[in-house]
Amino acid sequence: MTRDAIYDRLKEIITIYLPEDVNPENISANSHLINELNINSSHLVDVVLDVEDAFDIEIKDAELEAMDTVSSALDIIQKKINNA
């Protein structure tokens, strides 16, 4: 799976969790999930579950802490897929 393909799928997942006043077009690789995209911090665990289902991977608690931006999430997902 290419990084672009992962990015597109991740963007779809994140879009569901955006508050009504945040435009999905504002999502970029550097976006901070909580501080910039205003995703409710309690929903991060749901984003992770959706990511696990979408890519058939499992993300550990320690890795979850590192998933603060779109690009860091991409890195973790890509690494998991390649190791699978």
Binding site: I16, Y17, E20, D46, L49
Partner: protein
Amino acid sequence: MKKRVVITGLGIAAPNGVGIPAFLNAIRNGVSGVQWFEELEQLNFSCQLGAVPIISEEKKRTYFSDLELKNFNSSGILYGTIAGLDALEDAGLQKAAPSGSPHWDLGVIFGTGTSGVDKFREAIYKLDAGKVRRLGSTTVAQTMASGISAYLGGKIGAGNKVTTNSSACATGTEAILIGYEHIAAGRAVQMLCGSCSDDGPYLWGGFDAMKVTTFKNNDRPTEASRPMSATASGFVPGSGAGALLLESLESAQARGATIYAEVRGGCVNSGGQRHGGSMTAPNSEAVQRCIAQAISNAGIDSGQIDYVNGHLTATVKDPVEIANWCTAIGRSGSDFPYINSLKSLIGHGLAASGSMETVAAVLQLHHGFVAPNINCEDLHPEIAAMVASEKIPQHMIEVPLKTIAKASFGFGDVNACSIFSKI
């Protein structure tokens, strides 16, 4: 000096009508919301009937965002949110702006028996499989008892007292009285009051096992709920939500709001599970005291009551309830007020019953009619000996009503009675 309290908004998600216009039409015309459920047959239920509000996916999306509906599985919160937001809108009030301050003078008292049983079931399967992390963030908010008041409080931006009460089948009637007291004491200007109940086998199963539901009418759903009938054989389990926006009279008048009725007062008590009272049966002396104290607290005379909205669940105990009313208000025969039980149409809404039935009672008061008691063409002879049959109308009658009483009784031997009048 106590503030006078009035009702300025109504909302409902009932098995025979969602939204006030549909519900009003249904209760005027005696439309039943009871259905047969194949799922209950497959699960070996004795009573395979139930009464459930019908909510389309499109309707859900007008009250909840797509994100809120993702992994949403809590029927009581669904019904309660619809009824509550409808009552707010009916009162002509707006939600607080998302970026603004909350409404400091508006609170929420919205009761339930148990929240999100289907969501809890989902969670238990995941937990037992060792997958606790798969619960995600949505389990707690949907299964905590105060889930419904939390959902409503957040959507509205309520900044006053926001809580959930629970007193079994007296929950809805009690919620209205808690809200009334709060406004009367000057601690809030508006209180959104009501109650909701989940539905389905995981809520109803315990009642089925106790044999308090009817198992004799599975082949005739609309005839199954038979309050005050000689052939009453148990209740039909129901669900839904009713909501009332209570407001100080001075605020309602200043806003020029529609006033449906004044909340004159009420009483909540318990029989202490003594003298015939138990976990499941009421102490009759306590019921009588509750009604009499409600009348006294309302500052009316029992002779002024034009209509009674009974608890009357369609068990063998209905004649006992009628006897308690006769004793408490000192009236019988043709002197007894009009009386009906909404449960003939919508089954027993459990924690939601008190609020749905109060919405029905207030609509009857406001529009001047008594809804039909269906399925009591064979009126119980003990009841016929206490109350003249014309006071238990089997067809809708148009009649001006001025003062009405509503009572609910719940497991744990708890009682609630409220008095409303036209203003």
